[in-house]
């Protein structure tokens, strides 16, 4: 199963871009410390990709991120931004070209939402109309109605809304590169899920090069095109696609960090739309039709109940999962309802096929990539 799972997802979001951020032999040793926080790190972030930096506390992931915009100056090594050596350029000018979002959000409490978003454009000397247009555009993008929100103060927003403004502020001057330091770390799990989904939606529209620090493996797997696993002392233990890291940890450290849940986590990388689904027969009277499961539908063609599922005497309770979901979602609903099969439905609620428990644990058949 592992082979079958990993092959399609590694081509799911192909990353072919040239390196947008490159660290070449970068080290950081803090004053009065003998061991470096980051040692001889080489890392390339391809254009348009989301690269997740992950690792245990003290592994230097935040230090690495902050060296990219030189909030922390590297002790040795070179930093390249879009091919240009920025190790020695003016740091303030450099940072205005790079979006920056932090966990504590850091919205200025004495400024309105609009003024917070407008900070960098103002420093860059944009004119008023252009700034206003940009603020409205960005608030729309992150799902905050400008008319409602632009004149509010940060204290009048919920934590999730504040973080959206934080993301909008990071995007304000349309930087090609965004650095995000655990931006969803301090947010409740439900809001965090939603923000992650919206973040992926936004990224599909804007296609920025993003470097993202997290300590949450699920977040790294969900958001990342690539994951860089850092070991204590700032050693790059593995740098690969999420499915590759889950399936083939490079060493014991990565294997231990990824932990026992790797097989389950991989399910969330596998989209149902990539599977060969089992055919279902639509029937009104419930006659068994060979080896295929039989489904009863209502007038609009939506499934209402199972008539018959091969291999089980009693038809299981009917559960459905959207075609856009992942195998993880399918397993989740099956376990929840104690059902041995799940109907996959499309956006219109029409059945597109079935997924059975037996098939899940035996062998999943993947469609040939249609390209």
């Amino acid at each position: 199963m592992s082979e079958a799972v990993q092959s399609p997802t590694s081509t799911a979001r192909p990353i072919v871009g040239r390196p947008m951020i490159a660290l070449e032999g970068v080290s950081k040793t803090y004053p009065k410390q003998t061991r470096p926080a980051v040692a001889e790190l080489n890392l390339e972030v391809p254009e348009g990709a989301i690269v997740m930096l992950i690792g245990p506390s003290g592994c230097g992931k935040t230090t690495t991120l902050k060296m990219m915009n030189r909030l922390i100056e590297p002790t040795t090594g070179r930093i390249l931004l879009d091919g240009e050596d920025v190790t020695d350029v003016n740091a303030d000018q450099l940072r205005r070209r790079i979006g920056y979002v932090i966990q504590q959000v850091g919205l200025f409490p004495h400024l309105t939402v609009a003024d917070n978003v407008a900070v960098v454009p103002r420093m860059l000397g944009w004119n008023k109309n252009r700034i206003n247009r940009r603020v409205d555009e960005l608030l729309h993008l992150v799902g905050l109605e400008p008319a409602d929100f632009r004149d509010r103060y940060p204290r009048q927003l919920s934590g999730g809304q504040q973080q959206r403004v934080g993301v909008a502020r990071g995007l304000a001057a349309d930087p090609s590169v965004m650095l995000m330091d655990e931006p969803f770390g301090a947010i409740d799990p439900i809001t965090r899920e939603r923000l992650q989904d919206e973040f992926l939606d936004v990224q599909r529209q804007i296609a920025k090069t993003i470097c993202f620090v997290t300590h949450d493996l699920s977040e790294a797997v969900k958001l990342g095109d690539r994951i860089a696993v850092l070991a204590t002392g700032g050693r790059l233990a593995q740098y690969d696609t999420p499915s590759e890291i889950l399936a083939h940890p490079a060493d014991d450290f990565v294997a231990e960090f990824v932990g026992g849940g790797a097989a389950v986590r991989r399910l969330s990388l596998l989209e149902i739309s990539r599977l060969e689904l089992e055919e279902v027969v639509i029937s009104s009277d419930g006659t068994p039709a060979g080896s295929h499961p039989v489904l009863a539908v209502d007038g609009a063609g939506r499934p209402v109940a199972w008539h018959h599922v091969p291999g089980s005497a009693q038809p299981p309770p009917l559960v459905t999962v959207p075609l856009s979901g992942t195998v993880y979602d399918a397993v989740d609903v099956m376990l929840d309802a104690r059902a041995s099969a799940v109907v996959v439905v499309d956006d219109g609620g029409q059945p597109r096929g079935a997924l059975r428990w037996d098939a899940l644990v035996a062998d999943l058949r993947i469609k040939e990539p249609s390209r």
């Binding site: 915009n69 909030l71 303030d92 000018q93 450099l94 940072r95 205005r96 070209r97 920056y100 932090i102 504590q104 959000v105 850091g106 919205l107 200025f108 409490p109 004495h110 900070v119 960098v120 420093m123 008319a147 409602d148 004149d151 509010r152 103060y153 502020r169 650095l179």
Partner: protein, 258 residues
């Protein structure tokens, strides 16, 4: 349409509710006016001899009042001009090593009794208004200095990191983020200095710098306690009113942020 939902942020509604929320501020002027009226009524109904009449003469008192205000205002302005920049400099990370020492020295100066300082300074320098102002500056320097340092140090480091991370220079971060957020604490320090100076300025008379202390001390020397009491009441009223005005300023600046 949405303006209805956002009513609290429209200026008119906010100003009306600001007055309502701060209705407790009315107490001080009411107490001051009532108390002062009672004292003046007492003075008007008492039989005053010619010495007392001269001390309580309105034009004489007015001149002393203006002197008193000048001593207070000038010393406070000098304190602000010196202590604010020094406090800002001390709050910078580079001044980490000398911060504690400087604040301790400020505490030492604060502990000196103003009565002694004002007279010693007069012998060291010369008698007169300038020396009185210097003594007042020494007496009220520390609250402004410490509040400036504390106000700037308590700004959330995440805000400073966000500012620097977006490309603000150290100077822009100070002017656009740190100082605006520290202003309420800084103003509270200036208020303390102002009130200290109003009180301490009554000692200026001992080195010939005038002020409302002059009629008080002369009436006490001439054994006219009623007249001394009336002038003391006026000094108290002035101190309360100045504190009240500074309190309003403090609420105005902190209301924008908190």
């Amino acid at each position: 349409m949405t303006a209805g939902v956002l009513a609290p942020t429209t200026p008119q509604v906010r100003s009306r509710s600001w007055i309502w929320r701060n209705r407790d501020l009315i107490a001080t002027p009411v107490i001051v006016v009532v108390g002062l009226c009672l004292v003046l009524l007492y003075a008007a109904t008492s039989r005053l001899d010619s010495v007392e009449q001269r001390a309580l003469d309105p034009s004489y008192l007015w001149a002393k009042f203006l002197q008193h205000l000048w001593l207070t205002a000038a010393s406070t302005v000098v304190v602000v001009l010196i202590a604010l920049p020094l406090g800002i400099a001390l709050s910078r990370p580079a001044a980490r090593r000398i911060r504690t020492g400087t604040l301790a020295f400020g505490g030492f100066m604060q502990a000196l009794p103003p009565y002694g300082v004002i007279i010693l300074l007069a012998f060291l320098l010369r008698f007169g208004t300038t020396t009185a102002i210097i003594a007042l500056v020494l007496a009220s320097f520390l609250p402004v200095l410490t509040n400036t340092v504390i106000g700037l140090r308590q700004v959330d480091p995440a805000l400073i990191e966000a500012a620097r991370g977006m490309g603000m220079s150290a100077r822009q971060t100070l002017l656009r983020v740190e100082i605006p957020l520290a202003v309420p604490v800084m103003v509270a320090g200036i208020r303390v200095a102002l009130v200290l100076n109003v009180g301490t300025a009554t000692l200026a008379t001992f080195i010939g710098a005038g002020g409302l202390g002059e009629p008080i001390s002369s009436m006490l020397k001439l054994a006219r306690p009623q007249a001394a009491f009336v002038v003391s009441a006026i000094v108290a009223a002035v101190a309360l009113l100045i504190d009240w005005l500074a309190g309003i300023a403090e609420r105005l600046v902190s209301g924008r942020i908190a």
